[in-house]
Amino acid sequence: MKGQPVAAVAADPAVGSGYFDAYAAVGLLAVVGVLFVAVAFSANRLLRPVVYSPEKLLAYECGVDPVGEDWAHTQIRYYVYAFLYVIFAVDAIYLFPWATVFSAAGYGAGTLVEMFVFIGFLAVGLLYAWKKGVLEWT
């Protein structure tokens, strides 16, 4: 694979077709991956024994018969994290396009101040969640 210029060309955003080439390769690998899984599962189907018994199909709970409902109630806390994540991650995504240009000529100090404003917002949000007791359980 070494020394072939194909990938280097694709890395240049100025080359129009490179963009689609790169993601076409990713798509091809996804197809290869799906094929791999399909072949593995089919081979597995041929190799494995099938011996039915109703006990095997019970949910496993430490070796005793399962108690109560299959789907249990669980902590709401977990879903608060999902919310927090969505809020922060959507912010954080904006860092990436900005990161590629912020030190370019003509930006410099201005973008740096913007960055501190941005980090400040994130930090205040985090402090608020912390203060509200979302991040600590006990």
């Binding site: 694709a10 077709s17 990713v26 690998l29 991956g33 899984v37 109560g68």
Partner: protein
């Protein structure tokens, strides 16, 4: 696009995906054993049990495939594949050596890699939900909460590298690499690697699969090949996180040897980090669930923000 060339690259990625995680797994067997004063596998294959994981694979392939009566059948069966395949796709974008020695350079490589790795969580949630088992459900939710909490510091630390390099392309980041990045990005490296460890649910962050509480979390009901796929995805994950840390924070192919041997550096750094992953497993006890979440939000994220500020100030100062 040269179809044959691309197919070859995909095949190479698949081969790496199927062999390197096994090497890491075997290393884990042996390293853990010796750290604990045991010998580890000694029989399979003859020489120091080198074929243990191959034997495990053969065994898994012959085991009965059980889907619990109450389970959501299709979702249950698909979950291992959804959990596994993102790591395969990520491997394609990780540069190994200079001059285009990469499966496929992607323009927004860093972004692409983080986005695709995030898909794995869906597989684990699917497994946890579809199993119709309380422990699986609890494990699945813990996994999801953990992955989301640790994704954020990971993304912020990665953004810091993108700022330093001024590009999102992984080979581009390595082209821009200078030796002083290592101390400069050290906090980011710590945050990224730790968060990566948590994403893999490796000890000490293995609360979602804590056997003493919830059996094996989302994977409790799995048997045979599907179970093996979940395990494979864990080890493929170690490979991917180690390789990404090496590429982003440790200079990837850069090293004292000539550029021709750059790929050797990438592999050496990756395996050194994989060793650290194993070492940490042997060293630290498991964090409690609330400690685990608090660690992400009150330690790693503030640290990542500090790193962002540091990167920004120094980058503007030197440019």
């Amino acid at each position: 696009m040269n179809l044959l060339d691309t197919l070859l690259r995909c095949a190479a990625a698949l081969v790496v995906f199927l062999t390197f995680p096994l090497i890491i797994g075997q290393t884990e067997h042996k390293v853990m054993a010796h750290m604990q004063g045991r010998l580890g596998p000694m029989y399979a294959g003859g020489f120091h049990g080198w074929a243990q994981l191959v034997a495990d694979g053969v065994k898994f392939a012959q085991k009965e495939d059980i889907v619990p009566a109450g389970a959501d059948r299709r979702v249950f069966q698909l979950a291992p594949a959804v959990s596994l395949l993102p790591y395969l796709i990520v491997l394609l974008a990780i540069p190994v050596g200079p001059d285009g020695f990469v499966g496929q350079a992607v323009d927004a490589g860093l972004f692409f890699v983080l986005a695709v790795m995030g898909v794995g969580v869906i597989g684990k949630l699917m497994a946890g939900w579809a199993s119709a088992n309380k422990f699986s459900l609890l494990g699945g939710l813990r996994t999801a909460a953990q992955l989301m909490s640790y994704e954020l510091p990971m993304v912020l630390a990665a953004a810091s590298v993108a700022m330093a390099a001024g590009t999102l392309s992984l080979p581009g980041i390595l082209d821009a690499f200078e030796w002083y990045w290592i101390p400069w990005q050290a906090i980011g490296a710590f945050v990224f690697f730790t968060a990566g460890l948590a994403e893999l649910q490796r000890p000490p962050f293995d609360m979602p699969v804590a056997d003493s509480e919830i059996i094996f979390g989302a994977y409790t009901e799995y048997t045979g090949l599907r179970f093996a796929f979940f395990l494979l995805s864990e080890y493929a994950g170690i490979l991917v996180v180690s390789a990404l840390t090496a590429v982003l924070f440790l200079g990837g192919w850069h090293g004292p040897l000539p550029d021709d041997l750059g790929w050797l550096w990438t592999i050496l750094k990756t395996f050194a980090l994989a060793f650290v992953v194993i070492w940490l497993r042997v060293t630290y006890p498991r964090l409690r669930e609330d400690q685990l979440m608090r660690f992400a939000w009150t330690v790693l994220i503030p640290l990542a923000l500090v790193q962002l500020a540091l990167t920004g100030v120094i980058k503007v100062a030197i440019s």
